[in-house]
Symmetry: C2
Subunit: 533 residues, 2 copies
């Protein structure tokens, strides 16, 4: 080993041994030599071309702060959050926008404070959101992405990343079962769903792109379950249909759209002189985690010539699992489009959302605006990989590299194992809850995804008959218990109402780092915080 590498190797070992005190080390790092903390941005590259050494030290000091946060996120003895009300937080740290530059020490303090008061969404006891976890490979990918800092319109300025998109999206279509088709990444599931809605319209009414909705013979109507994500209704507003023309179809007690109800409402719309054109099938509803029956909906779409879209933003990652894929996705290729967010159940960093079409060419013919100043056809390379005229965004963040790197690291088998592990933890959670029925009232007794919907029943209510009145009280207790959770900072589970059901908890497992012991902790902590409510 060379002396240089030995020195670094020794130092690295030392750092490893002292990871827990990384913050205090960071403070000391610059002392002795030139203290970069007193420098200002202009003394770093790119402003100062000879500032490479100082720039390195700036990043080294930052890294210690980041590594400290990563370690705390994974330390079950650390709190998930240190809750402050907005007014308190504005006093606890300096959020102001100064006229004059701040030095590097102040900026490092800013970074440290920001992470100190941030919720650790990667903590194994954060069950609050559909996107949780902190995959340290995906994270590395995001750091590379930020360093490369490129836009995703053309091969010209993002050659590697554009090809990675092509590889990954093709692989995902293969997993879905599409033999051809086209796909794109979007900034979140709502925009992915929006793509499906406009592409379907363009496919069925090619003149609409030019002439607009008013030239169509009849008003268009779309259908979606009453349990669907609100982005479907939002898209009806954005695309000019109006929310009244987004018809909500009743769901059964498990949260799945009722096909007979869909057909009834389609016939009603036809009788009213409207044109039913689009059905959104949710695969993994936001609250219950329910899967609408694809084949039954596809039959109705065939009969009435409607476009079937699957909103799999949450549930589509289960396509990776041979164990859980069926029956949830039986008939999936009958859908003409499907959205799928790796940033949810696959723990890819935010954001990573995809939309896939069974048919090639539609995405481009719908969205192309012939912007020749950007997407010239006379370039000296093969422009077929350029994506710019397939999207509604123009500039597009690079959301692919982290996912590509993560997939390389885990392999397809590893990603499948993660899904199976999380579903297994959910089953363990259900077993534990079911063994204490007086304490946990289950809203959905047989979940289809990792969503577990329940009321925690405090001691005084355990003997009470389950009536509407009891539900009302449990709803009130839910928000009080959440407040105690936030203040304790030890556990985070989201809550919401659904239809007539008052507030209840929805715990989510979307982080492969969650172990059975974390479920045991959840149960004990709910008891500790809530038994006397």
């Amino acid at each position: 080993m060379t002396s240089i590498s030995k020195t670094i190797s020794d130092a690295t070992s030392t750092v490893k041994d002292t990871m827990k005190s990384a913050i205090s080390l960071g403070k000391n790092l610059g002392i002795g030599n030139k203290d970069v903390g007193q420098l200002y941005y202009e003394e770093l590259v790119p402003w100062n071309p000879s500032g490479a050494k100082e720039t390195l030290e700036w990043f080294q000091r930052l890294i210690l702060i980041l590594l400290d946060f990563i370690e705390k996120t994974n330390d079950r003895n650390e709190k998930i959050l240190d809750f402050h009300h907005p007014s308190q937080l504005m006093q606890a740290m300096d959020l102001s926008i100064p006229d004059e530059p701040q030095n590097l020490d102040q900026l490092l303090t800013d970074c440290r404070d920001t992470l100190k008061y941030q919720v650790k969404t990667g903590h194994p006891r954060f069950f609050n959101q559909l996107s949780c976890g902190l995959d340290t490979i995906s994270l590395a990918g995001e750091w590379v992405t930020a360093t490369a800092n490129t836009n995703m319109f053309t091969y010209e300025i993002a050659p590697v990343f554009i090809l990675m998109e092509a590889f990954i999206l093709k692989k995902m279509r293969e997993i879905i079962g599409y033999t051809d088709g086209d796909s794109i990444l979007a900034p979140g599931g709502s925009v992915s769903n929006l793509y499906a809605i406009i592409v379907a319209r363009h496919s069925m009414f090619p003149d609409y792109k030019k002439n607009g909705l008013r030239e169509l013979p009849k008003p268009l109507v779309m259908f979606t379950s009453e349990h669907c994500h609100y982005s479907i209704r939002s898209a009806a507003m954005v695309t000019g249909l109006g929310t009244e023309n987004c018809v909500e179809v009743p769901a059964d007690e498990k949260g799945r759209m009722i096909p007979a109800e869909l057909e009834r409402l389609v016939q009603k719309a036809i009788a009213e002189g409207k044109h039913p054109y689009f059905v959104n099938c949710t695969s993994g509803t936001t609250v219950f985690g329910a899967f609408d029956p694809i084949n039954a909906l596809a039959d109705i779409c065939d009969k009435y010539n409607m476009w079937l879209h699957i909103d799999g933003a949450w549930g589509a990652s289960i396509l990776m699992s041979n164990k859980y894929r069926s029956p949830r996705f039986d008939g999936v290729t009958r859908a003409r489009s499907i959205s799928w967010n790796p940033h949810k159940l696959m723990t890819t960093h935010l954001q990573c959302s995809t939309i896939h079409f069974r048919e090639r060419g539609l995405l481009r013919s719908c969205n192309s605006m012939h912007a020749e100043y950007l997407f010239q056809q006379d370039k000296h390379y093969d422009v077929k990989y350029d994506t710019g005229d397939k999207v509604i965004q123009c500039g597009r963040h690079n959301d692919i590299f982290k996912f590509w790197l993560q997939w390389r690291a885990h392999g397809t088998v590893g990603l499948e194992r993660d899904i199976d592990h999380m579903m297994g933890i959910m089953e363990y959670q259900m077993d534990r809850f079911k063994s204490q029925p007086e304490k946990f009232y289950l809203i959905v007794p047989e979940p289809e995804c990792t969503n577990v919907c329940f009321w925690y029943v405090p001691t005084r209510l355990r003997g009470m008959q389950h009536t509407k009145e009891r539900e009302h009280i449990l709803g009130e207790i839910t928000s009080k218990l959440k407040q105690r959770m936030m203040e304790a900072g030890t556990l985070m589970i989201g809550y919401q109402p659904q239809g007539d059901i008052p507030n209840f908890f929805r715990s989510i497992i979307s982080n492969p780092a969650v172990k059975r012991g974390d479920i045991d902790f959840m149960i004990a902590e709910l008891d500790r915080l809530g038994h006397d409510l």
Copy 2:
């Protein structure tokens, strides 16, 4: 100094001295102790709770690769790109998606290769795009953002970041000159403009949200310059108006919308039974960098009761400059909305785009879908900062922290200085070009932004009269010269046609690291690569 900090300090000095060979150091780092390169992801946190040491080493090795790229990006002796055709690139690196996990060494190789073949968009001789540069403070901010990995819907899960958005957006509205109002971040200028188009519609026709476009008495029409960004036309497709109802208004020879033409076309639309409702005023067109005349357009909007929106995605950063703000933005507060992308002329990392409204409340009343499962009003904290029901996205990437940190670092005065510096470099470039009129044919003799549009004239054409035929030849030469640039890898300037004008170069200065010497280099390199074409 403690012995620990001294060891690290020594090692840091050593690293600094050897920054240029960071890559080879990275290879050696693990040797001697346990070589983490042979490990797989499952041996790191979060999968292996006792893998903190190995995780640290993984990140340390990655950082060396990233720092090497940062240094090369700022080294004028380094190439901007090492061009490979798609088929060559697919052979040069392994892009495949494997079934089995790859080890950390392979992943580090993947990261290294990715950066090796990526275009250095932060290189001071990359004049190709509206977003260039590599601000090392903004970059640090992106690393923090990735580490925090949170979604931006609520204060509950993003307390610090949600407040930062409120602070920054308020500051931006103050700079615009709005005394109240509301704002949001969007994934790029196209979506920012889309927000303006739907909010305007909602504001003027409140029933439309529910009933859709067909219930309005007349078809809506919007107006924009023929030089506008194509996202305006795209939004006409998305929102259901149809591209025919997005009327393109002729521009003058500088690329500015002609107000008399706007009024003529508005009257024509009215005569056709249509309802003119929206005028897009571009402040900084994509190709020419032109500014439409705000006051003249606002007068017409007042007269015909239309919403005036400013697409300042490119040019609005000039609002920061007391020197250049007037006359470009005279009358800016007469616009009811304005989009502004810090990721362009302010060198914030991709993406950072904002949309501002003069009136408070519209953004929420337009976009709210009353998604109670996510945005409960009965939380125990003040929910006024929650942004979830103001957006069409639901999940939203954290695009604020990098910008907040950058603004703290530069101060308002520093950001202003950067704008003035870049405009000054453009003026220098114009002076140099104008001193050699036989060599540089200027399409826009007096640019209003940092866009410089020109033909490079090779030796054989310098004596030729400037006719349509010569323009045609210059257009062909432009794409050939670009090919030579790409292959040389020393310089990147974009090209495009505009209306009847064949391909010409559009160089952009959007990186404060660009110096006069880089312009001198550009001129010499165009000569070297193109004189004999």
